[in-house]
């Protein structure tokens, strides 16, 4: 095989998505219409621009142009045409034909090409790298939503099975007060109280266990075992003991977050090296000074690791505990009752809010970690 041939092959392989997308959009053009006997089909201008955008993007992906230019063109064209296709689907549920799916598939392939182009960009600029770090997963997420929307609306999947993302978004917008009340009940009361209590108690117990070797030897195997157990099962007991309101959920969260904190803090307290300890001894530092000035700071990465694990556990604990009985507010309550009434979009709205809350919670902990353990190699950068 000659070098020329190899180069050409390479070129085709690099943009097989472009070639396939071109074929798909031409096939779609040949098998029009996009919607079978729909009351309000696409108007000719939209149709024309959708095809124009997709075919132009596909051709652009095949031409030997600078990578960044191709990526930007693909990004704009595919998302514009996908947006136009989706806008026309509303009200025409279940009417989509093969041509429409082929067109969406072509757009998706081109977006994939765009992502792989962006992934191969090597940049020295920190801000551009940060931007890419955000954009690439964002495109991926957007396409999950787009394909989800097209599949549910296009094939007319029953609402109960899987509502399209647009109606979930509409539901979120119309029931903000309810969602906010649920967030207050579940997150601001149950999760936060339990999280602080559980992590704090775990931390203090770890300090005690560190001071008394016998306690540590006894507690650690139990603590390690407990972190593998389905602690969530204490939820019915806690509901019985502390009543239906948030106190019982906070208790479940406390029990769930205690052990990860204990195990991680004890591990962290032995993280300081022998050299540093010897230095502290040569300063004649007593136990308290060594603990506060050397061993606790050295344990911070471990403690934050536990805080991160706990932020997820706390949300799960509070929501699942609400399945066992609540006053008429709370995220777990809402999920279990709305699913009973087959209001699936409300359940999805609640899940989206829970996901958002979980990410924010985690993000706050991660920011705290950045601020506290800036000295640690994994955070120094460079």
């Amino acid at each position: 095989m000659t070098a020329m041939n190899k180069a050409r092959l390479h070129f085709w392989w690099q943009s097989w998505q472009g070639a396939l997308a071109l074929l798909l959009s031409l096939a779609a053009l040949a098998t029009l219409p996009l919607l079978a006997d729909a009351p309000e089909p696409y108007n000719p201008i939209t149709m024309f621009s959708v095809f124009l955008l997709t075919i132009a993007a596909a051709v652009c992906a095949l031409l030997p142009l600078p990578g960044m230019l191709v990526a930007i063109t693909l990004f704009v064209c595919t998302h514009l045409s996908a947006a136009m296709l989706i806008a026309g689907l509303a009200g025409n549920e279940g009417k989509a034909t093969g041509a429409l799916y082929m067109l969406v598939a072509a757009d998706w392939l081109l977006a994939w090409r765009c992502v792989s182009l962006l992934s191969s960009v090597r940049t020295r600029s920190k801000s551009l790298d940060g931007l890419l770090r955000l954009i690439i997963p964002a495109i991926f997420g957007a396409w999950i939503l787009i394909l989800w929307e097209v599949a549910t609306r296009g094939a007319g999947i029953p609402f109960i099975l899987l509502p399209p993302p647009s109606s979930i978004a509409a539901r979120i917008a119309t029931s903000l007060p309810i969602l906010w009340a649920d967030v207050q009940q579940t997150i601001f009361k149950a999760v936060l109280a339990g999280y602080i209590l559980g992590s704090g108690a775990g931390f203090l117990t770890a300090i005690l266990a560190d001071r008394f070797t016998f306690l540590r030897r006894g507690l650690m195997p139990i603590g390690n075992l407990m972190s593998a157990l389905p602690i969530i099962g204490v939820a019915p007991i806690m509901v019985m003991w502390f009543g239906f309101d948030w106190q019982s959920k906070a208790a479940v969260v406390t029990v769930m977050t205690f052990f990860p904190m204990l195990v991680n803090t004890v591990a962290g307290l032995s993280a300081a090296g022998t050299m540093e300890r010897d230095l502290m001894r040569s300063y004649a530092a007593d136990y308290r000074q060594t603990l506060l000035k050397l061993r606790l700071p050295a344990a911070m990465p471990f403690i934050f690791n536990a805080l991160k694990i706990n932020s997820t556990l706390a949300l799960i604990g509070a929501i699942v505990a609400e399945f066992f009985g609540t006053p008429i507010v709370g995220m777990g309550f809402r999920i279990s009752t709305e699913i009973g009434r087959m209001n699936v979009d409300m359940v999805w709205a609640e899940i989206a809010v829970a996901a958002l809350a979980g990410s924010v919670f985690y993000g706050v902990v991660a920011l705290g970690e950045r601020a506290t353990t800036f000295w640690h190699p994994s955070n120094r950068g460079g």
Binding site: V115, S120, F140, P221, A228, G233, I316, S359
Partner: protein, 295 residues
């Protein structure tokens, strides 16, 4: 640490702490059940001595906190004494939970490995999918459980499969993240050696990356099997309490059968401990078969 003796350094402390826990449990059981017992005695005009009163607090049929021996009695009755096919047998319920845990765990591990292989080999997949996998760890996935059960039930899929779906969902994340780390663990110098041998991508994968990832795989499988069990138990909550450890918990909560709840909880814990231990033993065997030395 290497000169640790088994009895004074391991068994004695753990046994002591366990004894303390049991003692605290008894005291708490007496204190928490006492008000109700006092109430009952007053109504029934029963006058009892101090010791008999304590004995009665520890023998209530529906105590606020059952005493350890009550739970042990219940566990013994519902495992050894009852036939395995009985609806009240904990072995039967444990088996129901275990089967969906295992199916979910198997699928989850497989899925996690496949995703990890894809992420390691396709650059675009890594940069687009990996942030979502990490982000999904922060999302309370368990909240989806009732919906999965009800929605799959609505289209006629019931029984083991919906629970297994939740277990799969919970167990594939740790495996995917651990395997990505494991497949990436070979150092540059080792990869360079493979390159000097003119090894293909497939050869590098099978002869270097896979063996290097095995310890990571088993570590994350331990996490995954525990998560998978939690998924199966939570998955049993909204099915209307048919069978399984989760349904035992829910039924106990409905009818205030506290002893049943505690027994189910212990049964679930034993199941989790056994599963994690089995994964640990398999990890040890595989490690030895691959020529690893005890660390």
């Amino acid at each position: 640490m290497s000169h640790e003796k088994l009895f004074p350094h391991r068994i004695l402390p753990v046994a002591t702490i366990m004894l303390i826990i049991v003692a605290i449990w008894y005291v708490a059981a007496i204190l928490m059940n006492a008000p109700f017992q006092r109430d009952m005695d007053q109504r029934g005009n029963v006058v009892t001595g101090e010791m008999e009163f304590i004995a009665r607090t520890l023998a209530q049929p529906k105590p606020i906190l059952p005493a350890p021996h009550q739970v042990a009695q219940n566990l013994f009755d519902n495992t050894v004494m009852r036939s395995v096919t009985s609806n009240r047998s904990l072995i039967y319920h444990g088996w129901v939970t275990l089967s969906s845990t295992m199916v979910g765990f198997a699928f989850g591990t497989l899925l996690g490995i496949l995703i990890a292989v894809g992420i390691v080999h396709v650059k675009a997949l890594e940069r687009s999918l990996m942030p979502w996998i990490i982000a999904s760890q922060m999302v309370p996935i368990l909240a989806v459980a009732p919906m999965v059960i009800v929605v799959l039930g609505a289209i006629g899929i019931t029984g083991l499969l919906p629970k297994a779906v939740i277990s799969t969902y919970l167990s594939f994340f740790p495996v995917a993240v651990g395997m990505v780390k494991g497949l990436r663990s070979p150092e540059l110098i080792q990869l360079d050696l493979m390159r000097t041998y003119n090894a293909s991508t497939a050869q590098t994968f099978w002869k270097l990356r896979v063996p290097a990832s095995i310890p990571f795989l088993f570590t994350s499988m331990k996490v995954a099997v525990a998560a998978s069990l939690v998924g199966a138990i939570v998955g049993e909550l909204p099915t209307g309490a048919v069978a399984g450890i989760g349904s035992k918990l829910l039924a106990g909560a409905y009818y205030s059968q506290t002893i049943d709840i505690w027994a189910a909880l212990i049964a679930g814990s034993v199941l989790a401990a056994v599963l994690v231990a089995i994964v640990g033993i398999v990890a040890g065997l595989v490690n030895r078969a691959m020529g690893g030395r005890p660390a």
